[in-house]
Symmetry: C2
């Protein structure tokens, strides 16, 4: 017995070929050649297009995403269709990126690049990551990987999540924790609870010189409040995600002093596609053997 | 009984005040007010000036440096005068800096900074530090600290030193090791053995895309050979030290593609002076109690 799985790209076709019990079927904007499909791996189509395709798949039981963030899907799928993400594929790359940007900020690498461009030897002391207190919003794969990278640098790390557990503080304490940490790193999914979690009040509680890092979703931050706070010159923001995204050319955030913007690349090291597919294949293999995939939402 | 110690700055005067058995005496370009001094903490004077001062100190037994690199002193002191460096004060900052610059390079932070300056949202995959093979020339405090920071990133680290020991390969293997590592980090003192250790032959053995990091001394690298090799476009060099140093405004290295230059700031985080003095005070305290200081050269 084989389970028909709709696959959106060649990498997936190649990687599913090794998975017993799967009949891999390629699709793009149409699925009417495989109405019996039971699994669909989500393609980079607009969500409304994907939801329309799904109405043509009466036997569909699982939508497998190739990303960690699946906030657009939640509550939108017909009953009986499970949703799984690719959590774990990008955690290492994202955590590495957070350390990269924090180190670059504290050690002032852009300042020295500017000196080199002017061919000026201009030494001077800089800050350091050593001794900093880092607060994460989120306590999943990404946050624990980040913690493991930061501790050897002499950083203390506080994890938070909706629900407290050993080693993890409850999100309800965030307003108080904001004031006692040098860095807040956002790495939680976008939900109604996290939308605009970082607002004017939160930002005002962050200490002078503090750094906000967003590798979650742009809307976890109230962008207008952030721009207003950055204009006071107290804080630095490192944003791999924005609201809106992509950030339009004329948006004031681009040129706000203290805002460092990268175009959603924290997870995007070479091999990201293959890593996402590795997770997806494992999820699908588990699902068709009748098990509950680890990454069900 | 107190030992007269010549101290070049206010930080040292303050920190030596807590050290039993020391009579701290401030000096600048003259020492004739304290001919009985037994210890001199080296000041940022030209070496020839310091050597001239020393001829006026017949009871001098120890010169304590505030830096790790003391290559200029070696063999220049009269017999009977010991030399100690401040090894350990800057290891953490230097190792942090190496990781900072490697992460910035692999994750291409300058590319995204340039995109932001043009207000262009230009995503794209980047390299990663994960999986890289790093070779250190030197296996002391700095190299072991660097290794401890890199391993959690999924990096494999090979240490080398003049003499092999468990976990450390002999420097004689460097030409072979160059070809099998993605990164060579120079963190050994400048000696007759290490001068121009990285020459045209070494550079030619490094694989395409490899990175050379120099936090040792500029002359460990043959600068002319490096410029010639960088012109081939195969390698990237991250140089915190140069030969000559400071690098003069018209020097071709400034604008050589693939050369990233910082002005000897790897150890220079806020608090560096205090950290160097902490080490120096511990050395001096040990010495005046009749022990052999750990950092004797």
């Amino acid at each position: 017995m084989t389970v028909p799985v709709l696959i959106p790209d060649d990498v997936g076709m190649r990687m599913l070929a090794t998975c017993d019990g799967v009949l891999a079927v390629r699709y793009d904007t149409r699925v009417d050649h495989c109405p019996e499909a039971e699994v669909l791996v989500a393609w980079q189509l607009p969500l409304t297009d994907l939801l329309a395709l799904i109405t043509q798949l009466p036997r569909l039981r699982l939508v497998q995403a190739l990303t960690s963030g699946v906030e657009g899907w939640v509550g939108r799928l017909p009953e009986g269709i499970a949703l799984a993400n690719a959590r774990g594929a990008s955690g290492a790359a994202c955590a590495e990126w957070v350390v990269a940007t924090l180190l670059s900020h504290y050690r002032e690498l852009p300042r020295f690049a500017a000196s080199q461009a002017r061919r000026v030897w201009a030494p001077g002391e800089t800050g350091t990551l050593n001794g900093k207190r880092v607060l994460t919003v989120g306590a999943g794969d990404l946050a624990t990987r980040l913690r493991d990278l930061l501790i050897p640098f002499g950083v203390s790390v506080t994890l938070t999540a909706r629900t407290a557990r050993p080693g993890v503080r409850p999100a309800s304490e965030l307003p108080d924790l904001a004031g006692t940490h040098d860095v807040t790193v956002l790495m939680a999914p976008l939900t109604e609870q996290t939308r605009h979690l970082v607002d004017a009040d939160y930002l005002s509680r962050m200490p002078d010189g503090a750094v906000l890092v967003n590798v979650a979703r742009g809307a976890v931050v109230d962008t207008e409040a952030l721009i207003a706070e950055l204009h006071r010159g107290r804080l630095h923001a490192i944003l791999d995600v924005t609201d809106p995204e992509p950030l339009p050319p004329g948006h004031p955030l681009w040129a706000t002093a203290g805002a460092q913007i990268t175009p959603h690349v924290a997870a995007g090291t070479y091999g990201e596609t293959e890593r996402s597919w590795s997770v997806a294949v494992a999820q699908i293999a588990s699902f068709i053997r009748g098990h509950r995939p680890d990454n069900l939402i």
